[in-house]
């Protein structure tokens, strides 16, 4: 069970959270005007990296807020968590 740092509540057990998938995928503001390719990208295409992943979590059994995290999918180690709307923190040097 992961230990996840909620930017509002601190370190909390994974059981209190729900996973929200890849972060920073903005819903097109005018969906009607995007192309089929752009729409399929928004709906379905995911980076799914083996490495650092920017992703969303919701502290659903806690403060109920969505926030973002950088996690290395090779180790499940969290590099950072940050509030929704904030830019991901700069990572120093190469990925771990």
């Amino acid at each position: 069970m992961l230990l996840i740092h909620c930017p509002y509540c601190g370190d909390r057990p994974e059981l209190e959270f729900s996973y929200g998938g890849q972060a920073h995928i903005a819903r097109p503001s005018k969906p009607e005007s995007v192309t089929a390719d752009q729409w399929v990208e928004f709906l379905y295409l995911r980076s799914n990296p083996r490495g650092v992943h920017a992703e969303r979590w919701r502290h659903v059994r806690g403060c109920a807020r969505y926030f973002n995290a950088l996690r290395d999918t090779r180790t499940d180690r969290f590099i950072a968590t940050y509030k929704a709307g904030e830019a991901p923190p700069q990572q120093s040097g190469s990925t771990p």
Partner: protein
Amino acid sequence: MVESATARSLEFAATRWLRPLPPAARCIFCGDEAAQAALVAALGLPGSAANCRAVSANGRSLLWLGPDERLVLAPADQRQSLSAAIEAATASHAHSLVDVSYRQVALELHGPTAVRLLNAQCPLELTATAFPVGMCTRTIYAKTEIVLWRTALESFHIEVWRSFAPYLVTLLGDVAKESGA
């Protein structure tokens, strides 16, 4: 008929370490900081609640649930007046006030075994330093969501949605039985 119904919030036989708390007035208040400040004033509380903390005064309590979400608790007879007072005091701020007096019920877990009983199925660290008196949070107990609020070193106020309450009480009972509490 209706009067007796209102008193029936949570039914189970109190034990040495667990008792049902009486019905209460409850509402969920959401809004930004300014709205929250107005709320605190309306409730007559000394200050607002920090993250994961509760403040109480005059029988009213304000529990921080999320950055813009608070749970207000007050004696049951304030059900009508409380909402009205809050609405009046916060009218100039965008906010949401929803009465949840009946959505959930409360119980109190107390005594030297309280932490152990909780930790049987609640994954939080509940030492007095990690979870001091006055701390409150939504969390889980096995498969039910609860609001857990430490009101004294050995006393916890628990809010649980009403349909989950029998599950919670039964489970606490099972856990207590096995550990001889």
